[in-house]
Every structure is written in C-alpha cells, then in structure tokens.
C-alpha cells in the first residue's frame, strides 16, 4: 500500500511521462477498460474525476463486462491450460513412473529430460510453428513441452524417496503384482505426486503465456492481450495484464495445488503443523 501510494504520489508531483511507465491509477484504468468499464483515475483530479470526458475512439467496443476482452482472455487461457496441463500430466506421470520403474530407461531419458527442463519454453515456439502452424495445437505443444519434463523429473525423484520398507511390508501382507502398485506404491507416491503437479503447473502457466504471446491465433488469451498492449503502445495495459498473469498463477497455486499438497502432507504427518 505504501509503495503504491508513493508511486502514485510521485506521478502527481513530478509528472513522469505515463507512456513510459504507468502509475497505478493508469493500470487500474487499463484493467477496467478491458472489462468494458470506462474510467479515468489516471487523469488530473478535477470536478468530474474519475469519469471519462469525451469519447475514446481507441477503446474496446462497449458491452457487458462478461463479454469483455479480459474475461474472454482469462477463459481462453484457462481452457487451454486445462487441456494442455491434462496432456502434460498424463505424459509426465507415465514417463516419471516408467523412469522410476526401469533404470535403463532412466539412464537414457533422465539426462535428456533434465536438459530439456533447462530449455526456456518459448524456445519451443519456432518448432511449434513449423510443425503445427500458428494455431491452437501449436500453443498446446509449447505448453506440454514446457511442463511435462518437469513433472516427470519431479515425480521420479519423489518416488525414489518412498521407503523400500513400505514395499516389503506390502509384500509381507500379500500385496503382489498390481495390488502392490494400487494399494502400496500409488498411495505412497501421493506426496511426490502433488509436489510434481504443483511444480508442473507453474511451468505450464509460464509456457502457456509465452506461447500465447507469440502465437497469435483467433482467440486471444492473456498472453495475446499482453502483445496487443505492446502493439498499441499501451504501457498501462501491458502492466495490467502482467499483474493479472501473476494473480491467476498465484490463485491457482494457493487455492489449488498448495491446498492439495497441504492436505496430503497433513495426512502423512509431513507438515510442520
């Protein structure tokens, strides 16, 4: 709050140029305008503040808030995330399990995956364009490639921490074959699984934003909105979208994956509380 008011205050007093870097009030205006609400918090305080004086020919078409750019972008990105992350989980979990189960496979794929993990996800964009073209599949490709290595590696590492004693105890009690996997190893792997999913999600979200930023397809996600802001030299919109990306990512992590992880850890007695 203090930082925000100092920042805003500096603008009001020194008159920085808002097209180089926006004040919080400009960012607020930009966010609301993407929601089809016209405000002018960033204008000098006059009698009609913060209402807009006169028409804004550059602004988005008016309509109800639920048909606004922003809502559509968030929805589009969410749908892509769900689909892509789903594929990513499937691939990552399968390969992570396989690498844990067969050491030869791990020796072959392990270093490769670790290397791939260090590759920034936007580096998959050119390949996606050439292979799939500039379309939804291209974006999903970037998302999956950017996240599933991380899931596989994290899961494999987590599975390796399962005490071998559980396996022996299971065998002793007659859990053989698939029963050993279903009733002993699968539940024992839950902490590793949730950790890998949480990590995988942050990778997936970052990759998706990167992919959307570059691959401009018909439906605009949050990344595309960021790019729109750049092409129209709207710094306030750029900053507004960046803040939104952080918020969406944080919300999904805090109320989704962190919750899940906490519940599993509490069950296993791993949590500090």
């Amino acid at each position: 709050m203090i930082i925000l008011s100092t920042w805003e205050g500096a603008y009001r007093v020194v008159h920085w140029r808002p097209y180089v870097f926006p004040a919080p009030s400009h960012v607020l205006d930009a966010t609301l305008s993407m929601l089809n609400v016209r405000t002018a918090f960033g204008d000098p305080v006059t009698s009609h503040w913060p209402r807009v004086v006169g028409g804004d020919p550059q602004g988005p078409t008016a309509g109800p808030w639920y048909h606004s750019q922003l809502v559509e972008a968030v929805l589009t990105s969410s749908v892509r995330l769900l689909a892509g992350f789903g594929v990513s989980i499937l691939l990552g979990v399968t390969l992570g399990l396989a690498m844990w189960r067969w050491e030869e496979l791990d020796r072959f794929l392990g270093p490769l995956f670790l290397g791939m993990q260090t590759l920034p996800s936007v580096c998959w964009v050119p390949l996606a364009v050439l292979t799939f073209g500039i379309n939804e599949r291209g974006i999903l490709f970037v998302l999956v490639m950017g996240s599933f290595f991380a899931i596989a590696i994290a899961l494999r590492d987590g599975l390796r921490t399962i005490p071998p004693l559980y396996q022996r105890a299971g065998l002793m009690m007659g859990a053989r074959g698939w029963k050993l996997y279903r009733y002993v190893l699968l539940p024992a792997s839950l902490p590793a699984m949730t950790t890998s999913l949480r990590q995988g999600f942050s990778f997936a979200w970052r990759s998706l934003m990167g992919g959307e930023l570059i691959l401009f397809v018909e439906r605009h996600g949050l990344g595309a909105l960021l790019e729109t802001g750049r092409t129209s030299s709207d710094v306030a919109q750029v900053v507004a979208v960046m803040i939104l990306m952080v918020l969406v990512g944080m919300a999904a992590d805090r109320w989704g994956f962190a919750k899940l992880q906490q519940r599993v850890q509490a069950r296993f007695g791993l949590a500090a509380r």
Binding site: L165, Y166, L171, M172, M173, G174, A188, L190
Partner: protein
C-alpha cells in the same frame, strides 16, 4: 539364591534341560500354564543357509545356518551388529533369497514373502496414509476377507494390543510404542504360522520396551504362535526366549543354543534373569575375544589359515544349569 527349586523332568523334550536346575518364581508365575509346544502348525526349519553379500562369495553374511523353531516356540537370535541376524530373518521371511540351503514352513518350501510369515520391522513400516485400524485391516483386505469379518478381526486385534481407543488415529499421531503395537496387531491379525520380529523394540525407550516385553509375552501365551525374534540385546533375549540362538560374525554362524528353562510370564527383575544375562553375555564376549585373537594371529602370521574348526557346531548348552 535360596529360592531355587529343582524341578526335574519339567520339560524333557528340550535339549539340555534334563539335568538342568529349572528356576521357578514364587510370584506370580506359580499356577501359570506354559503354552503347549511341539504341536500344531508353525514349524519353521532353516537348513544349510548360506548367503553372501557379494556375488563372488568373498563377503559372506551367514554360513551354514541350521535352525529349527518348533510350533509355539519363542526363539530369539542374539548377536552383535553385523552378524547377519537380520539377513537370517529376511531369508526366513522370503525377502532375501539364500545362496544355498532351504527354508521350510510346516514342510512347504518358502519361495517368497507372504502373510503366513508375518513380520514386525524395527522401523514399524506402517502405511502413513492409513489409520491404525486400516493398517491392521490391510493384510485381510489383500487376502479378500469380506468386510464384516475383517472388521471383527481388526477389532479383536486392536483389543489384544490394547489400542481400541486409537483405532482411527493416523500413524503420525501414535507414539513409538503404539506404532509397534499396531505393527504387531497388523501381523497377528492375518493369523500367520510364524511371527518374525526384527529388533522391533530397539528404537523405543527403556520403559516402553519393558512394557512391550510384558505385552508380547502375554500375546504369545494367548496365541501360541511360533516367534522368531532377532535382537542385539541379551537382556531382551533372556526375558522373552524359550531358546536363545547366539550368532557370531565374520561370517554369521550359530555357535551356541541356549535353552531358557524359566516359566512364562517372567518376572523381569528376578535375579535368575540377571544371572542368565550375565552368563550369555560372557559367552558372547569369550567368543568375540577368541575370534579377535584368531584374526590377530592370522594377521601376524600373514598367511591364509583355515577358519577355526575345533568346538564349532550346534552345541547346546543349558546355561540355566549353571545357576
């Protein structure tokens, strides 16, 4: 020791017990019935067991182990760390394959781990994602026991280890002693032929351990299970065992078998127990010193020497006779 009473012919079926002075306690042992032994199921036989840690046979873990547990017998294998006693137990459980020799349970050859040889581990090995009662029910579930019967048997098992009030607790909510009691209940509920225990009380504090010794004796008298118990503690061995098997290291071999002809349940504070502990401890010390001296001599001579053969074998001495 004015309380010593000579009771000949009390347990003539046991080796070395014929001429032994058998110690009887004034309280509370009198009137207690010893569980019947030598009948029913639960005869565990290990014949000629060899196991090496390295594939070329240069690092032997155990050598030429012959060990038989009669049905209902409480056998304790005692020895210093690294003598291969846990290896031996894991071979009996079927978790480790021996390089030579066979393990038979009631005449059937043991091929792998299974619920007929239930095991209690030192680190309990309970599943943290299940409650105490779910942990106990696990083996029955795997065996396909119907839910109704499963619940009854789990309730029984919980009662046996006095944990009915903690049935729904998660593993991390239980104390160390309670965890081991759940582990014992989890093993017993499957009605195994043999109960294998791998230093189950080693990680507990002394008071809890004593409490669990008493409870284990009580359980054993109730259930008449064959128990093969491994420990490094001579005190524990003397408190619990019908038969103490002393294992020596480099490689693990059975050097002595000691019958403990004290009736159950035992008074752990009795001077007879203390005396027996002293004697068994001396046995082990003498052996360790002898092996050390031999190894030193070998090193001094700096040439290969066959391993000591004199006096080696399955000698049975009744140390109780010396009291």
């Amino acid at each position: 020791m004015e309380q010593l009473v000579r009771l000949p012919q009390q347990s003539p079926q046991r080796i070395g017990a014929r001429d032994a002075a058998v110690v009887e306690f004034p309280t509370p042992a009198q009137g207690q019935v010893q569980p019947p032994r030598g009948q029913g199921r639960g005869r565990l036989e290990m014949v000629g067991i060899d196991k090496n840690f390295s594939a070329d046979g240069k690092v032997p873990a155990v050598r030429g182990i012959d060990l038989a547990c009669e049905p209902g017998e409480f056998v304790v294998v005692v020895g210093p760390s690294g003598c291969g006693k846990s290896t031996l137990l894991n071979i009996a459980a079927g978790m480790i394959k021996p390089d030579a020799g066979t393990v038979r349970l009631d005449g059937h050859r043991v091929k792998g781990p299974g619920p007929d040889r239930a095991m209690v581990f030192q680190e309990h090995g309970l599943f943290p994602w299940l409650s105490a009662s779910q942990n106990i029910a696990f083996g029955l579930k795997m065996a396909g026991v119907p839910r109704r019967e499963r619940e009854d048997r789990v309730d029984n098992a919980l009662q046996m280890v006095h944990l009915t009030h903690s049935a729904d607790k998660l593993v991390h909510e239980l104390s160390g002693g309670m965890r081991q009691r759940v582990a014992i209940a989890r093993a017993l509920v499957m009605d195994p032929s043999v109960l294998l225990m791998d230093e189950p009380f080693a990680a507990l504090d002394a008071q809890t351990r004593t409490l669990l010794h008493a409870q284990l004796q009580e359980l054993w008298i109730q259930t008449h299970k064959t128990i093969l118990f491994v420990t490094h503690s001579v005190g524990e061995a003397v408190r619990l065992a019908d038969k103490i098997v002393i294992l020596h290291s480099h490689p693990g071999r059975i050097r002595r078998t000691v019958d403990v002809a004290l009736p159950h349940p035992r008074n752990f504070d009795s001077p007879d127990i203390t005396e027996l502990v002293r004697l068994v401890r001396k046995e082990i010390e003498d052996e360790v010193n002898r092996v050390n001296a031999e190894m030193a001599a070998e090193a001094a001579e700096d040439r290969w020497k066959p391993s000591p053969a004199g006096g080696v074998g399955d000698h049975s001495v009744d140390v109780g006779g010396g009291i």
